[in-house]
Amino acid sequence: MSDQHQNDNDNSIMKKPMTRRDVLRLAGTGGLGLLLGGGAIGSLFKIENNRKANAARTDATGSRVPFYGQHQAGITTPPQNFICFAAFDVTASGSKALQKLFKTWTAAAAAMAEGKQVGEESGNLNLPPVDTGESAGLNPSQLTITFGAGPSLFDDRFGLASKRPPSFKDLPAFNGEQLEPQWCGGDIGVQVCADDMQVAFHAVRNLARIARGTAVLRWVQEGFQRTAQADPTGGTPRNLLGFKDGTANPAVSSAQDMNKIVWAQSGDGASWMAGGSYMAVRRIRMRIEIWDRSSLKDQEDTFGRYRASGAPLGSKNEFDPVDLNQKDEKGNPMIPADSHVALARGDGSIQMLRRSYSYSGGIDSKTGQLDAGLLFISYQRDLFKQFVALQQKLSKSDRLNEYILHVGSAAFACFPGASKGGYIGDTLF
């Protein structure tokens, strides 16, 4: 958000009211796939920067995150408590119908981000209400709605084939994944996040309602992380395997870093994507029951970190640098080479912005086991050079693979932000 960038120049952190939890939530949002790696080098600097970036939201906008701007909200926005992710398939044909959908969605999304209903009620008792109503009277709860186009949107249906960014296509198959069609793909992906689940659900429901006749829901996944009420100290969130999850995210306050890591640039091959970002989504089921009967030693060797403190094995504190060369008295590496942290960190050359949530999907009716895990989401400037390159490495050797299973997958080219009067996706048409 441009507002945030402006705030970055203000060094007076004393002016930014912000919880420590906010700081760490921002710094430590991560995904099981790739995140536990980062060392602490620069992490203090990062925390300070994130504090400043995050302050923009509490200072100027209260419970609102501005919808319009240079970039879409919901990418560098500090992760809210809840997510409701919806993938749509477009059923109408022709780009006109698609444009109309994005225009209508933009107006509705901008209204909801302000805490307003999606349209004005006519008061005609013979008609259904325009808005479904369950968010009436609620504050917007940091609602963000982030739209992206799937690779399938660039087939021959909408005349967009020539617009497909050269680096944007379906994710390749990864070792060990067991993708289920009901959790994969989509012509359009919509990431809805808010600090209130009802507010988030309301947004998805109304977008789906507006789309009726033009697009249909393909899959929906809700997710959560621990809330401010549950952890007022603001510690790094833990994933459902019980480990602190995330430290290595780049600082969203650094425009330079974001331009390098997250935002597509005009010279990248698709000028309409300049200021947008490529999103990878993976529904990663955790083999909870198996994990729960693994010894603490196994669990810690799997992650390469201590469960209690989150510190790298052989170190004391969570944010201590990950030292892969440290050896125990027998000369073995303290952090196993195939541990998650060792592989995800690598040489530190691949970075991305992760924005994952835990999910719980009830039970697997076949086995009676819990269907729970991680809705991994990452944003990057280049899907293949960043997400795919790292995931290929992890899928081959990560010790964590014994306890997780990738069952869902999608990729979306998230549009640049819209300015008032424009609409999401307008640079594409």
Partner: protein, 288 residues
């Protein structure tokens, strides 16, 4: 929980202070009142004259009801004569006349459950009508013991025909009736729950849609005056749904519900929702 980040002292102090401020910030929820609706308009059909439309629909309903009685009689005769195959053949087509005007029948109180209740809709002792006989024909594969239910069904159908003359139809009933017909499809036909034993759900599906389409056809000129885009949209979506249904035609009727694949059912359901959404705004002709 112990906080383990080592922060420079100044920063740590700062963040402790912020911690407090932040809590306060977070607690200050902004309240945005819901958009106040414009002055409520409760006017019904008074603002326009729908008497011609209402008469047209009444004629249609009576016609359908006449045919319903006639075809039901053929069906009940076959049941009573012990002609199992013939009864099975006549079952779904006879019901279609009823399904086209279901909201009208529902407005007549007890008649709908008497004619159309499914197995758990009413107390077991009161269960009669089409679905009672359906169970015997398909599940028990016999007409034996159904004679009484057949006689009662015909009497109930005739009673419906007699009462339909007296029903007070207005434009509001038509508008809500059209949506109700599609809601019927959405809640029981598209799921295969309506015809549990015969699996002739698509006959009912098509008949409900035809009934809604009839109402739209009658009101479409009025709607076009009020909102031409909506009128066009509804027309297009009726066409799309009917085209979708046509793919499942077999002989004079439709394929067995059990032959549908999951993705075909989903697509039918989505096309139905795509139609029902704009159709639910047809009430625009009634005011404002």
């Amino acid at each position: 929980m112990k906080y383990k980040v080592i922060l420079p002292t100044g920063m740590l102090v700062a963040s402790l202070i912020f911690s407090g401020c932040g809590q306060k910030e977070n607690a200050e929820a902004e309240q945005t009142p819901p958009a106040a609706p414009a002055a409520a308009d409760t006017s019904n059909a008074s603002s326009a004259d729908f008497s011609a439309a209402v008469e047209q629909y009444r004629t249609f309903a009576v016609e359908q009801c006449d045919l319903f009685v006639k075809e039901t009689e053929k069906f009940t005769n076959a049941v009573k004569a012990g002609k199992l195959d013939e009864a099975k053949k006549l079952y779904a087509p006879a019901r279609a006349y009823y399904e086209r005007i279901e909201p009208v029948a529902e407005a007549l109180g007890d008649l709908d459950p008497d004619i159309d209740a499914r197995v758990n809709d009413v107390d077991a002792a009161d269960w009669r009508g089409f679905h009672r006989i359906e169970k015997a024909l398909w599940e028990d594969n016999t007409t034996a013991g159904q004679e009484g239910f057949a006689d009662q069904l015909l009497k109930d159908a005739q009673l419906l025909r007699a009462k339909i003359e007296t029903i007070d139809i207005d434009a509001s009933l038509m508008v809500t009736g059209a949506v109700e017909l599609l809601n019927e499809v959405s809640s029981s036909k598209v799921t295969g729950e309506e015809e549990l034993y015969s699996h002739t759900d698509l006959y009912d599906f098509a008949a409900n849609v035809e009934g809604a389409d009839k109402i739209y056809e009658i009101l479409k000129a009025d709607l076009a005056k009020k909102d031409p885009d909506l009128e066009k949209e509804i027309g297009e979506r009726f066409a799309a749904l009917k085209q979708e249904l046509d793919a499942f035609k077999k002989g004079d009727g439709y394929v067995d519900y059990t032959e549908l694949k999951e993705d075909q059912i989903r697509k039918l359901s989505q096309n139905l929702d795509a139609l029902a959404e704009p159709l639910s705004n047809m009430g625009k002709i009634l005011g404002v």
